[in-house]
Amino acid sequence: MCLAVPGRVLDIEERDGTRMATVDFGGVVKEVCLEYLPDLQVGEYAIVHVGFALQRLDEESAKQTLDLFATLGMLQEEFGDPWELAAEAGGSPLPAGDGAPVEAQK
């Protein structure tokens, strides 16, 4: 829940009056809100928690952390299919439901 993953800003745009960025987490790309770090620039790293950049991070630390998380499989836990993870943990089949259970970001 409090896992925050370092990511690199690929590009920045205003959307609905909100500063948003495309951020790369060791190969996984997500939309991230920059409102709490408004002066973050393309190419810089930040600690990202549930889609929000919370604190700037230097490149060396960020890369080390990403390497570690990749090695430990933590990126999969953070960005993998949560229904599959929950089903696996509980030893039960995936629940049926309308539409895609995971709302992937467009």
Binding site: Q64, W83, A86, P101
Partner: protein, 412 residues
Amino acid sequence: MKYIDEFQDPDLARRLLDDIHAAVTRPWALMEVCGGQTHTIIRHGIDQLLPDQVELIHGPGCPVCVTPLEVIDKALEVASRPGVIFCSFGDMLRVPGTGRDLFQVRSEGGDVRVVYSPLDALKIAQQNPDREVVFFGIGFETTAPPNAMTVYQARKLGIRNFSLLVSHVLVPPAIEAIMRSPNCRVQAFLAAGHVCSVMGTGEYPELAERFRVPIVVTGFEPLDILEGVRRTVLQLERGEHTVDNAYARAVRPEGNPAARAMLADVFEVTDRAWRGIGVIPASGWRLSERYREYDAEHRFSVSGIRTLEPAECRSGEVLQGLLKPHECEAFGTVCTPRTPLGATMVSSEGACAAYYLYRRLDLPAAAASKTAAAAEHAGASGTPAPDSTPVPTATATAAPAPHAPREASPVV
């Protein structure tokens, strides 16, 4: 020291451990109040690498675990209603309410969706104007700013079919409650790094002074935790009790001012019941009056909730650090991640789940958890433990981020 080769920088890990071993002259009890740290400590066997005299007590740092049962039951009730799309982070799916969980609600036809960010839930509300979209807003100070921003955006954009079921909790009041407990054995705290990256460190000097405990802001990675423990032990041995920042690469004294300003606008402090612990005064956030219309508890009157915790679940004692998970009679037998009695066996940040996943079924109950070799597999119930083969040492890693220790440090 069988785990040491698994550290990113085994040489540095060994130097930190040598430092700790050299410094310790008597028993000390340190508490971490962060589920991520608990997970790392157990996963990497850090508690077993430390000197026997240094005990790590796992505090109520798993937000999933401390969310009150009544709130979970409200979530399940609201999620079951037709016309509602209930959005949550994935780690809430398996948390047991009274007799069921969100996973089951979906199986029974409820529209439960997992989102990566609360802003995704807002997007779903925009795309489904004829449905009520509810986001389950739980967590510590780290998770609150994203939820606050989402409610702020909903109001700004005039999105009326969105609401937040809020149960945020705060770390400093929990530290205070732990120190005031008559059973308290805690002599120092590792403060949660990402909580402090938002809130800064300003709330801690007063606590350190009043309770005469060192408080060391600590990160999540194995080396971060060793460094946090090292600085804490040095303070204890010197008879000091100050606030120190061992996670300076991500934590500034002022935290994130923009996030704090948003929190002050959207939320207000309230008493909060912590699952397994009880009400801690002024230990949570709820939506402030200005945002009350976005409060799911106001929007959906949920009544007739009758909560019931399994009698044999002792997670309350585990959350308060009074009981180690393997000392519970149900641990690994009646209670496993597949058949969890309590929330602490569900979330990977919960102490019980961490113990189950990474070792400990073979430990004698109530024994000091300092066996030379930890169990590699928790295999007693036929549940395959995760692959716990030694993680290859990461290559080409330099020392971790620069710390600014107050004395000569092996961290270069």
